[in-house]
């Protein structure tokens, strides 16, 4: 647990809050009667923690709206939670308040095959949507590594990506409609099944807003035809430099693969221990590349990619021959973060993005940071869009400060290379203090205008995205030093 400096905002807390919520929604939807239960909602997939004052499990939009009105009236922050797989502390009630778990709003409301749309509740698991769409030869494109567990609501909040978003876009490119509940309890429907609407693109602003603009209660997404076929290539290189040079060469050649993933030796070891995906253990870098679409010409594309890898020093080249082989290759990649548990009890994953051409030098910086701090750092990432995921391994929460420092150095390098603090995990409470690295005060003020329009009372997931004076003071001192 990190020693997070908290500013508790809740107008009411403890017994009065629980009693009020139970009166409003009934006991089966409220957790907090037994305070020990609340400790089990103080974490998500990342490292930061904070205990909620109450947890509410709504059944429908009306519950959410009633809850929001209640919280608005009493000045209580409201923090949405999907499956709690997030990697930036998005679901952590850093300023206290009510955590809203969408675990019971997890239905597919409509599978609209004719329009290639699905209308779903926010608690629906990402993979369950694609599974349900598969008989219609359709799928939902964003495929975060946590897709077996993470929810659509979480995907909307974080604007989630995944390996296959390189060619087909992230969550925001696949949402056409939302029903949201503002922090004052107003229910607003935005868009629908059409691609454009009149007026401002509020859906575009809402997707990726990490619960700070309101709570999403219904989502309409595009479903995309499944590719007819795929070719998945594993290429092993003696060094990461060669692997990343291959990525640049593939992009430069004008090819747009569906996915290009990279993994270094440390990550490979963990993955092999966990999944046995068949990655060569002696390689310095492993590249996973997939082309898909119509069957025609795929073999030729795959051969071109293999040729580029060979020119860049690949020692092993393997093309998945069966669906099972392909799934195994991907299982390794998708289980990579969690597999770190095999190497160390804890990890801190970064999510910086860099222009693709800067890959080799930023990776070298990562390895320097690792040496300087004496911390092992594994790399598993979406190389095709320059989205790095350095995993800083550690074993003791007392190391956390050093770990954060290493993470910050890596992020600084990403931003200096012209990149971003986060490509898909979100800012949350993990990187909000770092936002000034990437954005000037004017830029943050621009975002603040959006926040004010949606949530003037600042009750929707407060303490996220924007730097907060209490928690970020230390970082600002650090930065000015």
């Amino acid at each position: 647990m990190t020693a997070t400096e908290r500013t508790l905002r809740a107008g009411i807390r403890g017994r009065p809050l629980i009693d009020g919520l139970v009166r409003l929604l009934g006991p089966s939807k409220v957790i907090g009667e037994h305070p020990e239960d609340l400790l089990i909602y103080e974490y998500d997939g990342a490292v930061d923690t904070a205990t909620p004052d109450a947890v509410v499990l709504p059944d429908d939009t009306a519950d959410v709206a009633a809850l929001a009105r209640f919280c608005h009236e009493h000045g209580v922050p409201i923090v949405p939670r999907g499956a709690g797989t997030g990697l930036s502390g998005g679901a952590i009630p850093v300023e206290g308040g009510v955590v809203v778990s969408f675990a019971r709003m997890s239905r597919i409301l409509e599978m609209d095959v004719a329009n290639r749309r699905a209308v779903v509740q926010p608690g629906l698991i990402n993979l369950h949507l694609s599974t349900a769409a598969a008989p219609h030869n359709l799928h939902f494109v964003p495929d975060p590594s946590s897709q077996k567990a993470c929810t659509l609501g979480g995907n909307v909040a974080e604007n989630s990506g995944g390996p296959h978003t390189l060619a087909y876009g992230v969550t925001t490119n696949h949402v056409t409609g939302l029903e949201i509940v503002l922090s004052d309890g107003t229910i607003v429907r935005l868009g629908g099944k059409a691609e454009d609407g009149e007026g401002y693109d509020l859906i575009g602003a809402f997707v990726g807003s990490e619960g700070t603009l309101g709570l999403v209660t219904e989502i309409t997404v595009k479903l995309t035809p499944l590719p007819e076929d795929k070719r998945t290539i594993l290429a092993a290189f003696p060094t990461m430099d060669q692997a990343s040079a291959s990525v640049s060469a593939i992009i430069a050649s004008g090819l747009v693969p569906a996915a290009i993933e990279l993994m270094d030796q440390l990550a490979t070891q963990a993955v092999e221990a966990a999944v046995g995906a068949g990655y060569p253990l002696d390689a310095g870098g492993i590249l996973l590349c997939e082309v898909d679409g119509l069957r025609d010409g795929l073999d030729e594309l795959a051969s071109r990619i293999e040729a580029i890898c060979r020119e860049n020093g690949a020692t092993t080249l393997r093309r998945a021959q069966t669906v099972l082989e392909r799934e195994k290759l991907w299982a390794g990649r998708k289980g990579a973060f969690a597999a770190m548990g095999r190497l160390a009890p804890a990890y801190y994953v970064q999510d910086g993005v860099i222009p693709r051409t800067r890959l080799p030098d930023v990776l070298r910086t990562v390895s320097e940071v690792s040496k300087r701090h004496g911390l092992r750092i594994a790399n598993v990432f979406h190389a095709g869009d320059g989205n790095l995921h350095p995993l800083v391994l550690f074993s003791d929460m007392r190391e956390l400060e050093r770990v954060h420092e290493a993470g910050l150095e890596i992020l600084t390098a990403c931003v200096e290379a012209g990149g971003s603090l986060t490509g898909e995990h979100g800012v949350g409470m993990e990187k909000n203090c770092y936002m000034p690295l990437q954005f000037r005060a004017e830029d943050l003020a621009l975002m603040r205008r959006v926040k004010t329009a949606f949530d003037p009372a600042d009750l929707a997931n407060p303490g996220k995205i924007f730097p907060t004076p209490s928690r970020c003071r230390e970082f600002q001192l650090h930065a000015t030093r």
Binding site: G199, Y200, G208, D296, D385, E442, D443, M447
Partner: protein
């Protein structure tokens, strides 16, 4: 039509050369409560219900390519740059910005973004919102702010880019844009298929859209009740392009007559519909499967001239000609139909004399409008930017 306050030359025209100057102009205008119109290539002056303003801010000096790193597949460009100019520069590096907006010769990048102006190729490559990754803009409080960035994946903070797309300059003045770019396709092929019924044309388009063929354009052109044409463009690797056209030919041949050939010119002509501003043009955005019903209703309207549809995206434009009453009735009916179909619509063009009788958004009942107004207030509290241009202002 002139949008200047009056026909005498009292309107101040300003042409800032950088974002800072642009912001200063806005700040002074704000202090003086002067209204401002933002003009790029001036190609889309017909959109919305714009009212005359005190100032016209021209973006054409905010031009030029700021940065293009071909290997990163991104380009940063001044908002005043003409689309054609950017297209040529990218082509020299074997790349393209995969938009095919109307008025491509004269339209500026800023105008294309502000009007969310896209063509048929959004079927494969996405529209402006899928390609724009960063913007710089000047605000009425005199600040210059950036949104997004120059990397293709970025979730740091709110995606303010999205709000600027289609905002018609009512929130801020876009001064610079960064886009994802794409390698030029190796191969291109086309197909045209004729049908006697709208439903057949849409059914064929739907069959193609349901496959992984990912055509670059899936356009439908209806000229009369019994004259419908499907125009398919495929781009990409040669083998896949051949196959995509074969799939389209298959889909079309059951119901109509298909013919392979170059469709570039045909698509450009459809995109520019209509050349004259005579009559009414309604643009609807619909759930894809609702297009057939909408088209069948449209073709029965008195004065129906032509319907052009981006069948993959559900964007339909209908042209109607006739006397004033016919035009008013058709516009009302199309706006209502779009809503019934689960979509939305606006009147893009109508004769000046009908501006009072045919409002661009009908009754203006847009979901979430109150939130949009709050946003407008947060960005432009005195409402000096582009009055009447958007349903929000």
């Amino acid at each position: 039509m002139s949008l200047d306050r009056n026909e005498t030359a009292t309107v101040e025209r300003l042409r800032p050369a950088d974002a800072r100057t642009c912001a200063d102009i806005l700040r002074r205008a704000g202090e003086a409560r002067q209204t401002v119109r933002v003009r790029g290539g001036g190609t889309k002056e017909y959109l919305g219900d714009p009212r005359p303003t005190d100032l016209v801010l021209e973006t054409t000096s905010l031009g030029g390519i700021v940065e293009h790193v071909p290997a990163d597949l991104t380009v940063t460009v001044g908002a005043g740059t003409r689309f054609r100019e950017l297209e040529d520069a990218l082509a020299r590096a074997g790349q393209m910005l995969a938009l095919d907006p109307p008025h491509a010769d004269a339209a500026t990048i800023g105008g294309i973004v502000a009007a969310n102006s896209s063509g048929f190729r959004r079927a494969r490559y996405g529209g402006v919102r899928d390609l724009l990754i960063g913007t710089r803009c000047a605000l009425v409080d005199g600040t210059v702010a950036s949104a997004g960035g120059r990397v293709v994946k970025n979730v740091a903070g709110y995606d303010v880019n999205k709000l600027l797309i289609g905002s018609f300059g009512t929130l801020a003045v876009i001064t610079e844009c960064t886009f994802k770019v794409t390698p030029l396709p190796v191969a291109t092929a086309g197909l045209r298929a004729r049908f006697r019924r709208a439903a057949d044309a849409y059914a064929a388009a739907d069959l193609v859209a349901r496959t992984p063929a990912r055509p670059a354009a899936l356009a439908i052109d209806g000229r009369a009740r019994d004259a419908w044409e499907l125009v398919v463009l495929a781009e990409g690797e040669p083998a896949a392009v051949d196959r995509a056209i074969a799939i389209a030919a298959d889909a079309a041949s059951a119901r109509g007559r298909a013919e392979r050939g170059d469709v570039t010119a045909a698509l450009t002509a459809l995109r520019e519909l209509p050349a004259s501003a005579d009559g009414v043009l309604v643009r609807a955005s619909l759930p894809p499967a609702a297009q057939t019903a909408f088209a069948e209703a449209a073709m029965r309207l008195e004065g129906f001239m032509r319907l052009v549809s981006d069948a993959a995206s559900g964007i339909v434009r209908v042209e109607v000609r006739g006397d004033d009453d016919v035009l008013v009735a058709a516009a009302d009916s199309l706006l209502a139909d779009a809503r019934v179909c689960g979509g939305s619509a606006r009147v893009e063009r109508r004769p000046d004399r009908l501006r009072a009788r045919v409002e661009a958004w009908g009754d203006g009942d847009v979901p979430g409008l109150f939130l949009m107004r709050r946003l407008k207030d947060a960005f432009d509290p005195n409402g000096i930017l582009e009055p009447g241009r958007s349903v929000v202002s």
